[in-house]
């Protein structure tokens, strides 16, 4: 919306808009100029004519926060949708957030046990991390996210995570799946739900994750809770951003997305971490559906450059009946190393993970080869690797929706698989761990 002769509008200021239909809308200033002011209307612009009344509020977008937000449900503009009155508080927070001073951060190193072997063993999540799920339409990313939300715990601590769930352009049934999950597990009492559904205005999607994170920051850094934020689906956020950018007639970048997509996403994803001197933490699990399953698409690509790793879901695996269909090879957790090891999980954890990666990737290569030359064309070594990869998927990655495995259980399972491979091939594991944990050595010790 372009407005003439405003005079004293300021950048990012909130504007109240009343159309001839009498409905109040909200907008924000994108470009404050002497002659022309550009206002972005939040919500629907249908029925708006050129004769709207505008009120410039003189303040940027802020939301009230208090401990009353727990257990509540809001829409994408922070209006209650649970029939309860709005949150009242004098504590108003700007939703854009402020960058955390790197000096104020403390190193995330508390291992979160999700109970999912593929994640815990090979891409361990730690408190304060931002670890997205890269998925595709039709894959069970919501099931996995709900399972993680249900099972996530920190070893030796009773305290459960507070959950902040932001539905960004989700279908109603996807959103209610999450809400039902929270209800059934009793987590609803310690969750905040922000719902921007598919039918809601796209422009609101730009605010939804920011509102969720502002609430989450309050819970984590003021109320000292451990907060897990699920942002679902970031692809729809990016599409809304593209829509706005096109409306503003900006120069498009890759695939029509604006050139500042990286910076914009960073202002969302970087809002995770732990602060020195405060007890709480903010862990993010954004979900995005890769258009066409393409990891090189700008959205997953730029996300991967900002987040601390990614969990990659694979259609191929899912069709072979593996749940969760995590393809560990392109998956990664950058903060894993600081969260695992001797006093945190188990001393052999890193070596086992490295070895699994190596062995599995050789197995996958053998499988590709077998497609060309057939199983008979493989030599003995290649056949073993191939067999390993099959069992690895079926018995290690694969598990039930309600099956929560402890990290020790997962590691023992891993060793059980690794014994399929000749010991001389396990060069990524230190010898001292081989002696202590390799099932054959263990069995030998028992005999002695």
């Amino acid at each position: 919306m372009f407005v003439k002769d405003v005079g004293d509008a300021s950048y990012d200021e909130i504007v109240k808009i009343r159309g001839s239909d009498g409905i109040d809308r909200m907008g924000r200033v994108l470009d404050a100029g002497n002659e022309l002011t550009v206002v972005q209307v939040l919500g629907s612009t249908s029925d708006l004519q050129a004769d709207v009344a505008l009120k410039f509020t003189g303040s940027t977008f802020k939301i009230p926060v208090s401990d009353q937000v727990l257990g509540r449900m809001f829409n994408g503009l922070y209006r209650p949708v649970d029939g309860l009155p709005p949150v009242y508080s004098e504590d108003l927070r700007e939703t854009d957030g402020k960058p955390i001073n790197p000096v104020a951060r403390s190193q995330p190193n508390n291992f979160i046990q999700t109970g999912v072997s593929g994640i815990d063993t090979m891409l361990s999540l730690v408190r304060g991390q931002k670890l997205p799920i890269f998925s595709e339409s039709g894959l069970p990313h919501n099931r996995l996210a709900a399972q993680i939300a249900r099972q996530a715990s920190v070893k030796g601590e009773k305290e459960e995570f507070a959950l902040v769930f932001a539905a960004i352009g989700l279908k109603r049934d996807d959103a209610s799946f999450f809400v039902d999950q929270f209800r059934n597990s009793g987590a609803i009492e310690r969750s905040v739900v922000i719902l921007n559904l598919a039918e809601d205005a796209a422009v609101e999607r730009l605010l939804t994750p920011r509102i969720a994170l502002t609430v989450a920051e309050y819970l984590a850094f003021d109320m000292q809770l451990h907060v897990l934020v699920i942002l679902d689906d970031m692809t729809l956020y990016c599409e809304a951003l593209r829509e706005m950018s096109a409306a503003k007639e900006e120069v498009p970048g890759r695939a029509g997305y604006p050139g500042y997509l990286y910076s914009d996403l960073a202002t969302i994803y970087e809002r995770a971490g732990i602060l020195k001197g405060r007890k709480g933490s903010l862990t993010q699990m954004p979900i995005l559906t890769m258009p066409g399953g393409d990891i090189r698409h700008p959205i997953p690509d730029l996300t991967g450059y900002i987040t601390e790793g990614q969990v990659f879901l694979d259609r191929d695996l899912y069709q072979r009946g593996v749940y969760p269909p995590i393809n560990v090879l392109p998956s990664l957790s950058r903060l894993m190393r600081s969260g695992i090891g001797i006093s945190r999980t188990r001393e052999d954890h890193q070596d086992v993970a490295d070895q699994l990666y190596d062995t599995y990737s050789r197995g996958v290569r053998a499988r590709d080869l077998a497609k060309i030359v057939g199983q008979v064309g493989l030599n003995e070594r290649e056949r073993r690797f191939l067999e390993f990869s099959e069992v690895f998927e079926k018995r290690f990655v694969n598990q039930g929706d309600f099956e929560s495995r402890s990290i020790e259980e997962s590691l023992d399972r891993a060793w059980d698989l690794l014994k399929m491979v000749p010991e001389t091939e396990l060069v990524r594991i230190h010898e001292k761990f081989m002696e202590k944990y390799h099932p054959l050595h263990r069995a030998q010790k028992m005999v002695e």
Partner: protein
């Protein structure tokens, strides 16, 4: 340049603001915007108005607000107190910011780069009455136990020393000397200022050849694709291919005197990692905590975009300042793509005509300007000394595709290309530097001086005789290893079609050797205490061990010894593990002898000896 003048804002759109009412404002001048006096820089001047990029969030500012021209360019303070500290993209001390303003960075906060409250012990190197010129060493300050800070006469200053403090404790802005010349008397302090977008001057014609290696302790780099002191390297790779870890490894272990590590538009938690880890790591040569020689610039990805643009110039200016003192400085840039994107974003807001992928047409010029600030040179002033700035820039190409404007522009000006390979990263082979695609233009001149400089390391001085013998074969080892890896790549592509077991034994041996090279040499753990830093001596020995094994095994295969017998030798996995054995060189030497003996035994059982046939 204008003196301080006030104008009026006519437009605010994100980080770009337009103002008018200051007639003689110039490009690059620093402006203060709005009531909070947010810092910005003029990027466009027209007859009636001017445009500035602001280094902070501009919400709440609108037309009619004031804009003040300072008459100064974007500068940084240089002096004692840079090392062992962390700054943001416009060189504000983040520790100080944290103490004063808490965990989140508020806008409009002014913090000096150099602390004004600290005292430094200054010792004069010159006496009263001396004539001084730019770059002359006025005196010294022990900045950290690892680095002696030389206080220099600033560029453009000449005259006679009218007064100098012999020794004493001073704050950075207190006068330690007075220079008098025709223009009058000038106070010299421990600090100076420099406009960051202009390269600091060095002795005319003083650029030196790039023939000294920067030793990083990383095998694939030092042995295969070395970088020279004063050179420039590009390390492009998609996400998760290990750019940051590789840069951090070089920052930790390279034999530079000073390291400037610039995190440009990267992750906050990663900078926190560096801050947590570096104080606990010791320099392998001097045994002191690494932070004592390190300067960190952290401009995380969610800090204002324009400050990202500034951060790389801040970094390189600080690096040049230590170069001018006569030090070898390594500058890490992680990642230049974020800087290029900042350029693109600002260019977009200025409504400039975009060329490829939305980048402005002047992108290659800016890249060239930046990388040309690397070099090894004779610096200005007396006593005569040399210094260097080595630039290592990470590039984050979209989709990991190297065929994009920034990667292409960077490769034009960088002498070393370390190509990161997602395939290697997926199987957790790190550093994931592809040994077939990478190159180093320095390897030619470096190779000869490489081994010399390795040999001159004090700890190897004792064994110089032995060393000369081993290192003389170095060039040969290197090319032999590359040849083997190349051959293996070719054979592998065949094996992918017909299966490995269908290959003749000599080809299978090449594959086995390539595996030994990959696992036992190229792959290096950044986290293993023994393996993280591999001394040059050990690098050569490891390579020699694998190549000798190959040479001897070839003779067995020629005499029809089945490859499986060789592959099943218990020494094979040991060779792959030797790099992380705490016995280091001694262990490798004994393993070499042992595997030789084993191979000889096999040869004997087939009725011949390896030694005999060595000439045939």
């Amino acid at each position: 340049m204008s003196t301080s003048q006030t104008g009026i804002l006519s437009r605010v759109a994100g980080s770009v603001v337009v103002g008018s009412g200051i007639t003689d404002i110039m490009m690059g001048e620093v402006v203060l915007v709005g009531r909070e006096e947010l810092v910005g820089e003029v990027v466009k001047v027209t007859e009636k108005s001017f445009t500035a990029q602001v280094y902070e969030y501009t919400g709440g500012i609108g037309p009619g607000g004031k804009i003040v021209a300072t008459g100064k360019r974007l500068i940084t303070e240089l002096g004692p107190g840079l090392l062992n500290r962390i700054f943001d993209g416009v060189a504000r001390d983040l520790e100080l910011l944290f103490r004063e303003r808490g965990s989140f960075i508020e806008r409009g906060v002014k913090v000096n780069t150099l602390r004004r409250d600290l005292n430094w012990e200054f010792t004069a190197a010159l006496a009263k009455g001396a004539t001084v010129a730019p770059g002359d060493v006025l005196g010294t300050v022990q900045e950290t136990p690892m680095v002696l800070h030389r206080i220099l006469v600033p560029p453009g200053m000449e005259g006679t020393l009218k007064q100098i403090e012999e020794t004493g404790n001073f704050k950075v802005d207190e006068s330690v000397a007075i220079v008098s010349n025709r223009q009058g008397e000038h106070k010299l302090t421990l600090m100076q200022e420099w406009p960051v977008k202009i390269p600091r001057p060095f002795r005319e014609g003083g650029r030196l050849g790039l023939d000294l290696p920067l030793i990083t302790g990383q095998r694939v780099i030092d042995t295969f694709y070395p970088i020279a002191k004063g050179g420039a390297a590009a390390i492009p790779g998609g996400f998760g291919t290990g750019k940051t870890i590789t840069l951090q490894q070089i920052a930790k272990w390279s034999d530079a005197d000073v390291v400037v590590y610039t995190g440009c538009g990267e992750r906050g938690n990663e900078m926190c990692d560096v801050l947590t880890e570096f104080p606990n790591l010791k320099d392998p040569r001097k045994g002191r905590p690494l932070l004592e020689r390190t300067i960190l610039l952290a401009n995380t990805s969610n800090m204002p975009v324009a400050a990202r643009e500034a951060s790389i110039y801040m970094g390189v200016t600080i690096a040049e300042y230590y170069r001018d003192q006569g030090y070898d400085v390594a500058l890490m840039m992680d990642s230049t793509s974020r800087w290029a994107e900042a350029l693109r974003e600002i260019s977009g807001r200025l409504e400039e005509l975009p060329v490829e992928q939305g980048y402005p047409a002047y992108l290659p010029d800016r890249v060239a300007e930046f990388y040309e600030r690397a070099g090894r040179m004779e610096v200005m002033g007396r006593p005569k000394r040399t210094g260097s700035v080595t630039i290592i820039g990470a590039v984050s190409p979209p989709g990991g595709d190297f065929n994009e404007p920034l990667t292409i522009a960077t490769l034009r000006y960088a002498g070393v290309f370390w190509a990161l390979d997602p395939e290697l990263a997926f199987s957790r082979h790190f550093p994931a530097i592809n040994w077939l695609k990478s190159y180093s233009l320095y390897s030619g001149p470096l190779l000869s001086s490489f081994t010399q400089s390795w040999g001159s390391y004090s700890e190897y001085g004792k064994t110089s005789e032995w060393w000369r013998e081993v290192s003389s074969g170095y060039e040969e080892y290197r090319s032999r290893a590359l040849e083997l890896l190349n051959d293996a790549a070719g054979i592998e592509s065949i094996a992918r079609v017909i299966g490995e077991s269908a290959l003749p034994d000599d080809q299978q041996l090449i594959l086995l050797t390539a595996q030994l090279l990959r696992e036992g040499f190229l792959r290096q753990s950044a986290f293993d205490t023994v393996d993280a830093y591999c001394e040059p001596q050990r690098q050569v020995l490891l390579l020699k061990m694998i190549l000798d094994f190959n040479a001897q095994a070839i003779k067995l295969v020629k005499k029809k010894v089945p490859i499986d017998i060789i592959r099943e030798l218990p020494q094979v996995p040991l060779i792959m593990r030797a790099k992380e054995h705490p016995g280091r060189t001694e262990h490798i030497a004994s393993l070499m002898a042992e595997s030789h003996k084993e191979l000889e035994k096999i040869a004997n059982s087939y009725g011949f000896t390896i030694k005999e046939g060595s000439d045939s």
